[in-house]
């Protein structure tokens, strides 16, 4: 995987997500992971986007940048952090799983370490966002194409 520097994306750049549950949301870029995916956060208390990773091709980089200074992202937040935890007893092949409907499957919530890291990262970012006028409102608002707007004529 090439880890070439993208001239448009650097720490603090505001990105627009184009795909997934959070499509249209404007998020803050943190770092590029070793797998090549981009690590981003809402921050969570601003627009509800937690620490997530996305591919570069599903993102629009904007000129807007949050001044994060020299923010160091903890080493614990890497690709392993995002891989789902495997069930202890091979639940996938049990009878119980066979009879459980897709809708009834329990969703595994975030554990303590994940929420702790989320808050740890979000705090300095939120402080930096508050300093700039309208930046919080900008990150809260979702991007969408309105009537008459053509992306090939827009400047991001």
């Amino acid at each position: 995987m090439s880890l070439q520097q993208d001239p448009k994306i650097s720490q603090g750049t505001v990105l627009i997500l184009l795909i997934g549950k959070f499509k249209g949301k404007r998020v803050v870029f943190l770092k590029k992971l070793s797998s090549g995916l981009l690590l981003v956060t809402g921050p969570y208390n601003v627009n509800g986007v937690p620490l997530t990773r996305i591919k570069r091709k599903y993102v629009i980089a904007t000129k807007t940048k949050v001044d994060l200074g020299e923010l160091v992202v903890p080493e614990e937040i890497n690709d392993k952090f995002f891989t789902p935890q495997k069930p202890i007893n091979n639940w996938e092949k049990t009878e119980e799983k066979f009879f459980t409907k897709k809708q009834d499957l329990k969703k595994v919530g975030l554990n303590e370490t994940q929420t702790k890291l989320q808050n740890q990262i979000d705090k300095p970012i939120y402080e930096a966002i508050k300093k700039v006028q309208y930046l919080k409102e900008y990150l809260t608002a979702r991007f969408k194409l309105q009537k008459g707007q053509l992306p090939h004529k827009m400047k991001f």
Binding site: K8, L18, G24, K57, Y58, K144, L145, L150, H152, F156
Partner: protein, 128 residues
């Protein structure tokens, strides 16, 4: 019958107020129209579709859209995985002519019934 009598007979229509959907999913695609297949006068090549993207009128403007994903979205009668909405995915391969029309190839060729129907041109894969 007098006008007053006519009014009495007609039942009053209930005014049903439609609730606006909150937090509606944002539009992150450009609409296009499936014009037809790539063709000469008498034969058509159904493997390549021609798409007219709204607002794109010159060959130079189509550069931005090359490589972008396209989706033809349609409804079916049978529900599958909780939804009856189905899509055929494809991507824009090249420009077609000088007036902003674009060629696209889909995973499964578009059905002829889709001619004149809307197609969604996505903004990804993005290199902005």
């Amino acid at each position: 019958m007098s006008q007053e009598q006519k009014k009495e007979i007609k039942p009053k229509k209930k005014q049903i107020k439609k609730k606006k959907k909150q937090n509606k999913s944002p539009r992150l695609h450009v609409d296009g129209i499936f014009m037809g297949y790539r063709r000469g006068l008498t034969t058509q090549k159904t493997g390549t579709s021609l798409i007219k993207i709204v607002g794109v009128t010159t060959r130079k403007e189509t550069e931005w859209y090359l490589g972008k994903k396209v989706a033809f979205v349609y409804n079916a009668s049978r529900h599958h995985n909780g939804s009856n909405v189905r899509t055929i995915w494809g991507k824009i391969t090249s420009a077609h002519g000088n007036s902003g029309i674009v060629r696209a190839k889909f995973k499964r060729n578009l059905p002829a019934i889709a001619m004149g129907k809307k197609v969604r041109v996505m903004m990804y894969p993005s290199n902005i």
